[in-house]
Each structure stands twice: as C-alpha cells, then as structure tokens.
Symmetry: C2
Subunit: 348 residues, 2 copies
C-alpha cells in the first residue's frame, strides 16, 4: 500500500546522531520510529498525539513534555522562557485539554549570567500567568562551561480534558475541513534572522503565543473538533504528513490558501526556505466537519490570534490514503514529503 | 529566631552561574530561594516537596520533574537511563503516590553514538517495566557538538495518591522517629570513582533503585508516615536540613547509627568526602510516629532494598527549631549545615 511505501521506517543509516535527527524532518522521524517508539511502545505513546491522554479515576488527564533549546535565547517576539510555557500549554490545548499545571526543569551552563536567568524566569512567570497555569514543581542542574549552551528548559504539563471531548488523529475523516488560525513561518524566520544577525527592513517577530484560548472558544461554540495540531518543528508540512500517515487519510492543501506575511515571504525567498516547513509557535490546524467550517472560522476570527483564520484544505476520499498533496495555483497537485536534512535546527 | 538566622536566603553574591549552584549545597539553595521560588511562588510550589500534590476532580495527583546530567553516562550499578526512571519514580513515591506515567525528553549532542542511545533507551524501558510505570510522551532535541554533553534526559512523572494519605514536611512533629532504609553514599562514590578512573580493590556500585515498593509496603502495613525524602543531591545532610527548616522542627541524628559500607567509608576517607553529604539514589528517610518504629523497621527489613533499615534519629522538642544536630559517638552534638562549595556536581 502506498502509505507504507512512503512512510515505513528505514533502517538508521547513521551510527552517530546528526543535527537533522532533531530537525523535524525525515531523519528525526526515523530515529523516533526505529529507536524510541518501539522500545517504549504502549497504547498511549502509540497514539502519536501531542499529549498523552489517559483516565485517572474517571478524569481525562492530558500529559506532555518538551525541552527547549532555542538559539538565541532571546529573539524578536519572545524568549526561551515564553516559548517553554506557550509550547507546552499549546501541546495540552491540542488535545482539547484545559492546561492546569507545569513543571520547569533548568539545565544551566556554568558562567551563564544570573541577570539573563532572572529575565527568563520573569518571562516564564508572565506567560504562565497569562495562560492561567501554575508552575508547581521544578529542578535545576548546572553543567560545566562548554557542556551546555546557556540554558535549556524542559517543561512538562498537565491538563484536564472534558469527558465529552475526543480530539485525536484517528478521528480525522474524509470530508473534514482543515482550518489554519494564522499566517505561517514567523517563528522560525524570526529566530533564524536573529541567530544570523541579519537585518531586514521590517522586523519579523515570532508568533509565539498561548493557543489554548482559541481552542476553548471553538469548543464552547460546539464545534466538533476531530483533531488539532500546532505547527512547530517541521512546520505545516511535518504536521500534515504525520497526521495523514497516522489517520491513514488523504489530505489535500491549497497552496494559494496559505497565508504568509509578505516580509516572511521575502525572507524565505532570499534565504531559500519553503515556509511550509518552517516552525511556528502560534499557529495550529483544526480538522472540523465540513458543515461547521464557516461557524468555526467566524469563532476563530473573533479572537486576536485567529484574525487571519482560513480554510486551507480538506480530507479527501481517494486512493492516496496516508499522503498529503499540495495543489498549486495552476491546479497541479504534488505529493508533500518530509525534507531529509536539517532545515532549521534549534528553533524551539 | 535561630532558624531564620541560619536559613534565610542571602543576596546572591555571584553574577554568573557557578557549578555549585547545582551542587545541592548552600549556593543552590540560595539560587532557588532568591531567584526561582519567589518568581513562581504559589501554595503548591511553596510546599517544597519532592512532588507537587493537587486534586483534580477529587483525585490526588502527584507531579514531579527531574533532569539528569550525570557524568559519566554509564557507571557501576546503573546508567543515566535507569537513573532517569528511578529518580522520578522515587520523587513520586516520596509523596506516597503510586507512580503511573512518565515523560521522556532527550537533549542529545551531535555525534553521540546511536548504539549508546539504544542502550540507554533499553535501560529506561527495563527500569520502567520493573517500576510498573508507562512512558507515554516524549521529546527529542539535538544540539551541536560542544553545546551539550552526550545526552541529558528529563523525565516528569505523574502518580496517584490515596485520599487518606498525607505525607508532607509540615506533618513532621516532635517525637517522630527517623528511619533510613539503606547504607549511605554509594551512588555518589560509584559515579565519582568511575568519572575519575579510580580503581579500588572492591568495586562500589550505585544504589540506584526504585523505592516505590518499599513505600507501598509501609503504607499497606498501616504505618502513619508523616514525611518521606529520598537522599539525592546533597545526601542525607541536605534532605534533613531542608526538612528541618520547612517543618521548623529540631532533628537530631546519631552519627553512630548511620550505616556506611566499609568500602564506601574507605573511599570517602581517601578522597576527603563526608558521606552524609554524598548523593544516594536508593536511600530514603521516613518520619514515623515513635510508637510505630519497630513495626515500620520490620516491614522495611523484609524488602530487599530495606534489609539494613535502622532508626537514625528523632525529631526533638527543643529550642533548636529549624536545625539539624548530629550527635557523635562521644555524645557531643554539632549543628549540621549545608556545605558552601561544590562537593560532587553532575551526580544525577
């Protein structure tokens, strides 16, 4: 079957870790599929969702984790602290959970300025307060100079999912509309430009934001959300490719429908990046029933983080199960695939 | 009051992070007390317990996190993978929780051998299976060569606490017996010897182990445990000093009662370490009512990890509230204090 041919894990062709193993592309997928997922395999992990969702005494709990190694630590529109709160809150929100509690574990490099640490902690506090979550447990480790890179932050998060909610890749079905809340690629490009010290006429800011409010609004409006995914490492492309494979459905996206800020587009053209592969930290896609498309879009557009919300594609009933196709403005479709190398490492 | 004089946070006297900020001693305490705790302050974090415990729909959930940066990654008696599972499982167990779910977040340095990663994952799998926990969510990041150190692992854990259980520093009270399950300092010394390439006649193995079974046995026997603490960074001393300050009680320990393996004792003497400050990964103390001392000891001694269980001290009703005193074999007591510098960094 076609999806197996394209997506089954190849044997690892490296004997050492390369940067692309963390880049959100094919090599990362291979590492996870051959080395990590099979070792720990269990029904919860195998859901391949942003959060694991399980019941404790009848309550549906969502649980997720992410380490943040973004470089540089401070960038237009945010910093590693804001990212470490919003990123994990968003992973909870993508399972329909109300984010409640976060942990905060720091790995600090010897010689790191205490003032910068203070600034990052303050940024985490502010982001947590805005998202309505409490940081309730933590850990601090210090490693020698040259054995770390300033500071790495891990946050894990716990949220509560209403028992009536079931937002999960396996519910994606033919006929679903695919909605996007925002324009693409701002986070990756903002971090990249800051890292390389490049100045463009108009500063591009990361879209780093807490998306849980938007999800709450959709649910409150009675939208029967089938699946959600935030578009972080690997961008829109990686999210769609993984979901199409997991749900074994054919996803078709219209290239013309993808909102991309003109400054971001220019930067991508100059630097040779394809915005659909670039990380976002305030963008997500929602799979909703065709019949609720307009209602969902109007709910999204009422929220400051959803003003550009649009329908970017649909789940189709064709023989291309497990694949993503991108239809260009000429009406020609091509199969969208993971990139092999490292496009933008250390972006989150 | 005396405990305030000794324990109130001093202003940070460094403007950059030094290794001792992660060493489990006074500088680490200062960093947490002045920079991290006050920023995030909330009733759950302020409990200063190994896990945060909160109710979700009436169920008491324990939540904890730890990053593991141990060096070397493989050592006699364990490796970073086993440590990353047992350490977090133990933090859950110390709040009386039944450990249920773990996350696993890897920060891997470019160039790290895939074979070593495989060995570590396998070790995590085995430890998780033995502890009866599932690894349900994860994350993988890669950083450039020279920006990490092989692999760092963060695990966060979720456990369920029976509603009748209340194991928390504030329940420590005068009259409590303090029990210890095992001999001291094996983990720190084993890692230290391996790191420095020192060979002793008898190999010393880390005590790295899952302690949740021992706690379960105590609870099943009806022991009214007031508080538990595993003796990791900073060893027995750091655990006691923090608990005495948090509970505002006077803890007295009998030096003669402390079990220390003769090989560990020799190594400590040669290397100039005090075993009460050395990290353990399979040792914990329990505060139990005086009247249940013998029963609790016999429960502990029936378990393979508790065969050396003994009573090492008590909580006294004196004016030395907030302090720990160590009575030596001559009957002379001295105040036990945190060490200032870094005794053994990167031990967990």
């Amino acid at each position: 079957m076609s999806e197996l041919e394209l997506n089954c894990p190849l044997p690892l062709q490296y004997d050492r870790i390369v940067m692309a193993h963390g880049g959100g592309g094919r090599l990362m997928q291979q590492l996870l599929d051959t080395l990590i997922q099979p070792v720990f395999s269990n029904p919860l992990l195998d859901q391949k969702h942003d959060s694991a969702v399980f019941a404790i005494n009848g309550s549906k709990i969502a649980f997720t984790t992410d380490s943040y190694v973004v470089k540089p630590l401070f960038f237009p529109g945010g910093d590693i602290g804001k990212l470490a709160v919003c990123g994990t809150v968003n992973d909870l929100a993508m399972s329909g959970a109300r984010p409640l509690y976060l942990s905060c574990a720091l790995i600090i490099e010897e010689g790191f300025p205490i003032e910068d640490l203070q600034r990052i902690m303050e940024s985490m506090r502010r982001a947590a307060e805005q998202a309505g979550v409490l940081i309730v447990t933590g850990d601090t480790k210090v490693v020698e100079k040259g054995k770390g890179d300033g500071v790495f932050i891990n946050t894990a998060g716990i949220g509560l999912v209403d028992n009536t909610i079931d937002i999960i890749p396996s519910r994606i079905q033919a006929g679903d509309s695919i909605l996007l809340n925002s324009d693409l690629a701002r986070h990756g490009i903002a971090v990249m430009l800051e890292r390389e010290g490049l100045n463009f006429e108009h500063q591009i800011e990361s879209d780093c934001a807490d998306l849980s409010g938007l999800v709450r609004e959709l649910l409150a409006a009675g939208i029967d959300i089938h699946c959600l995914r935030d578009l972080t490492r690997g961008g829109l492309a990686a999210a769609l490719i993984e979901l199409a494979a997991t749900a074994r459905q054919h996803i078709e996206i219209s290239e013309a429908a993808l909102p991309i800020n003109s400054n971001v587009k220019s930067a991508c053209e100059i630097l040779g990046f394809d915005p659909v592969y670039i990380a976002n930290e305030g963008a997500f896609i929602a799979f909703v029933p065709e019949a609720q498309t307009e209602q969902a879009l109007s709910v999204l557009r009422r929220h400051p983080l959803g003003r550009q919300a649009c329908r970017i594609g649909e789940v189709k009933s064709t023989h291309l199960r497990g694949m993503v196709t991108l239809e260009n403005v000429m009406g020609v479709s091509r199969i969208m695939d993971l990139f092999n190398g490292e496009q933008l490492p250390r972006i989150c």
